[in-house]
Symmetry: none
Subunit: 221 residues, 2 copies
DNA sequence: TACCAGATTACGGTTTTCCGTAAAAAATGG
DNA sequence: CCATTTTTTACGGAAAACCGTAATCTGGTA
């Protein structure tokens, strides 16, 4: 059963509406934070006091506003929080809608639920909390639809290096010298062309710009 | 004095938080709509009944969800609403942060206030409503900061469209037909080259891949 | 109407990328 | 060691992007 919840959300209005939604569920033990660092501190304090949180509801993007923060975003908060309290349930509440990013949250960050800020988000929040309370992960239908058609490619280090160079403005024909300088083989221009062609064909792309966009999406570069 | 307010906002959670914020201001006569068309109908009905709204609080982007809508977004709603009730006060509540778009809202759509969905948005909403109640326009400080921010280039809608097409794999030479199909001018290949060159030179880039990476980073695409 | 200034488009030459083929080098196996 | 296969590199023609210049269109003005 979920009774004690921490909300990490920098937008005041979103924070308010989550609180209100929780109250409608009869949950009264609510703490909230506008900064990731603040959220992590509350988790640490609660663990120390022996009254840890049952659930963390967090956004992904936190806008910098001058205050120095060690945690830059929700994903870093999740990692840090789980280090302090491994059994903490995590529900992500975000406007993110890129399937690859959401998939990463479930697979790498092992979150327990994701609710997208969208039309019926308040209702979905209630459903999600209900499910998580029954020790089930909440996986919205529209997400699984998106993720099912996944054509994922696992990039090698050299692949990433090449795409990074492109994203930095390096001409394709100049990449060989960069690779040679780092002692990376193969470094021939033809090999680079071949690697790029292979990546693009696997992912169904035709242009380098698509590769750059895709790698940005999944956080590979 | 503002006593009767209509909220047009498709996100349930955002809608809730605006309602709550208004209640804290002692405003009880609140109507809300999840669709632009619905919002316009309520305005029409209220005018007919001789009990028109004092203020419309509206989002800009409304996500399509199958229901056929004649009004596609908040800007169309504003235009249509003012046609029915020219003296209607309008407050835009949106995540939009492109200075040029916000400027347009003030200049072309003659809105009375803009509050960006961000850290202190609930407090700003209260301030905005207070100001508008005193027949003053509300122009948040951070907007002017954005407008005279250097280093960052403010992308126009066409700029974004072009970069999106590139990131989708469209050949540069094929972009003109896409723009023509959408009725966007200029659509000549030379104009597109010129726009891309301008963006790149302002940002210190040399390749389109850099533009795509940059726009992904700042969330412009 | 005629004219001008700015915006838009068309054009041509150069550079870069794309892509198929083939030579060279390296790894594999007996 | 040689023979075979795989990987890497080199080469060349075609397509696309790049870039400067010139022609055309447009809206405003006298």
């Amino acid at each position: 059963m979920i009774t004690k919840i921490l909300i990490a959300e920098d937008h005041e209005s979103a924070n308010i509406s989550v609180q209100k939604t929780l109250e409608e569920l009869g949950i009264t033990d609510i703490a909230y934070a506008y900064y990731c660092d603040d959220a992590l501190n509350r988790i640490i304090q609660a663990v120390k006091a022996g009254s840890s949180f049952d659930l963390l509801i967090t956004d992904l993007s936190f806008e910098p506003d001058g205050h120095k923060q060690t945690l830059a975003n929700g994903m870093e908060l999740i990692t840090a929080a789980r280090k302090e309290q491994p059994d903490l349930n995590v529900l992500v509440f975000s406007a993110e809608n890129r399937p690859t990013v959401i998939e990463q949250l479930y697979n790498n960050y092992e979150i327990d639920g994701f609710v997208r800020k969208a039309r019926n988000d308040a209702r979905e929040l209630k459903e999600a909390i209900h499910e998580i309370g029954r020790h089930r992960r909440y996986f919205p239908r529209h997400i699984s639809q998106l993720i099912d058609k996944k054509n994922t490619y696992s990039f090698s280090d050299v692949d990433i290096t090449i795409i990074q160079l492109l994203a930095q403005g390096t001409l394709q024909k100049d990449i060989p010298v960069y690779l040679q300088r780092k002692g990376i083989t193969p470094s021939g221009l033809s090999s680079i062309e071949k690697k790029l062609n292979h990546m693009k064909s696997v992912l169904g792309f035709t242009k380098n710009e698509q590769l750059v966009a895709y790698c940005k999406d999944i956080g590979a570069i």
